[in-house]
């Protein structure tokens, strides 16, 4: 019996991987019955899978090491578990010095009376997050597969060498970036996304002013951590609780100043 359409590589793979529905599977099996070369390829792919199990599958039957179980069952306080490396870096020390006597105590800083009104770029960053993070088809101008080009291009437009922070360790991958306008000056937006499709943006512009430590704003309904680290001002925006965004902003800071 012959089937109505030609089976592609994708069909053969999907068959091996159990991704076909009943109808397609029946159709494909009929095809294999009359196309021995494709049947042989299916067999090769199955043998590859079996070989991979032979190579690495023992891990499934071995007891989980105590060290791993212990880590999950008795997680250490976040301070020692999650963020040790950067706390020890010179960069962190520099940030603490740049901050006020409150050091890393963000709440203390925010409540301090001398803090000026939120700079306009923070609102811009929140606005740009609202507009572009919701964008499905084209959230960025240049995608992450051209990261080098993206960074070079934005650096040129901003007039200073930029870095796209690497947030992989928190599960956020670079989606890409775009050039924006902020009060007549160029600004850059890098967008990140985690597996849960939560998006975070890092907004950067060249800024005159003294270095500041982290400040928090959610006046526009979007959480924003912002700081100045010359020659740039940064604003990290996301629709996330403050605590989660704080963790990301530390990573951004660590990354950029490295």
């Amino acid at each position: 019996m012959s089937t109505s359409r030609h089976m592609s590589d994708a069909d053969l793979n999907a068959y091996v991987d159990g991704e076909l529905d009943d109808v397609s599977r029946t159709e494909l099996e009929a095809w294999l019955a009359t196309h021995p070369e494709d049947a042989a390829r299916v067999e090769v792919y199955r043998q590859q899978n079996k070989g991979l199990q032979d190579l690495f599958g023992a891990a499934i039957d071995e007891p989980v090491p105590e060290k791993m179980l212990d880590l999950v069952k008795n997680p250490r306080p976040a301070k020692s578990a999650g963020r040790p490396a950067w706390m020890q870096t010179a960069a962190a020390a520099a940030l603490l010095l740049a901050g006020s006597a409150g050091g890393w105590s963000l709440r203390g800083l925010q409540d301090a009376p001398q803090i000026a009104a939120t700079p306009t770029y923070v609102e811009r960053a929140a606005g740009a997050y609202t507009v572009y993070a919701a964008e499905v088809a084209r959230p960025v101008e240049i995608t992450a597969d051209r990261e080098d080009f993206l960074v070079a291009w934005l650096s040129k437009r901003l007039g200073n060498p930029l870095k796209a922070p690497n947030l992989n360790s928190l599960g956020y991958e670079l989606v890409g970036g775009r050039l924006l306008e902020d009060s007549g000056k160029p600004a850059a937006q890098f967008m990140y996304e985690n597996s849960a499709k939560t998006r975070v943006t890092v907004y950067v512009l060249t800024y005159e002013g003294k270095d500041t430590s982290f400040k928090f704003s959610d006046t526009s309904g979007i959480s924003v951590f912002y700081w100045i680290d010359k020659p740039f001002a940064y604003a990290l925006a996301a629709d996330l609780p403050r605590q989660q965004l704080e963790e990301i902003s530390r990573l951004v800071y660590e990354n950029i100043s490295r």
Partner: protein
């Protein structure tokens, strides 16, 4: 507590995938340990009712990728020979041992982006949708990389045989 158990349930698979990626038991377990630390530190960002398995595999994969990048920036850190040595040490059980070695060597020759998808789907039995989530690419990309990866594996192993190396062994497809 439920979240913790959900993480523990994924550890065997994470260890297997990490062995496939790194080719070495100790490196793999270090990778899993790091992955668990990251996961616990970031558990707050994990959203209920999303895919815990895909989330954990994403973290592990990204950690490995970062390590690779770090190594490639400092290429002298691990020499080729050392790398080969690190890659050995697995114990084939069912398939013919040499055949499995061929597969292992072929796997090591695959470009990273093909290797990881072959491992996620072929070794871990992950469906295309989850694999796409882990790799951060569309499902169509998973399918094309998988198809290409398997074809490359096949050709690499066929070539080994055609070149007379281990010519006493039949090609993989005839192994029962």
């Amino acid at each position: 507590m439920d979240k913790q158990q959900a993480i523990i349930d994924e550890i065997p698979g994470l260890r297997r995938f990490a062995r496939g990626l790194s080719g070495n038991r100790e490196l793999a377990d270090d990778l899993v340990q790091d992955c668990l630390e990251r996961a616990l530190a970031g558990l707050g960002t994990w959203q209920e009712n999303t895919n815990m398995r895909a989330w954990l595999f994403t973290i592990l994969r990204n950690l490995y990728f970062n390590q690779l990048r770090a190594l490639s920036r400092r290429p002298n850190e691990i020499s080729y020979d050392e790398h080969q040595e690190l890659m050995s040490g697995t114990q084939p059980t069912q398939m013919d041992a040499l055949m499995v070695r061929d597969l292992e060597s072929a796997l090591n020759q695959l470009p990273y982006k093909h290797r990881e998808v072959v491992l996620l789907v072929g070794l871990e039995g992950m469906n295309y949708k989850d694999a796409a989530e882990v790799l951060g690419v569309p499902t169509g990309t998973v399918m094309s990389r998988l198809s290409r990866g398997r074809e490359m594996l096949k050709n690499l192993m066929d070539n080994d045989n055609h070149n007379g190396r281990r010519s006493d062994k039949p090609p993989l497809r005839s192994v029962k």
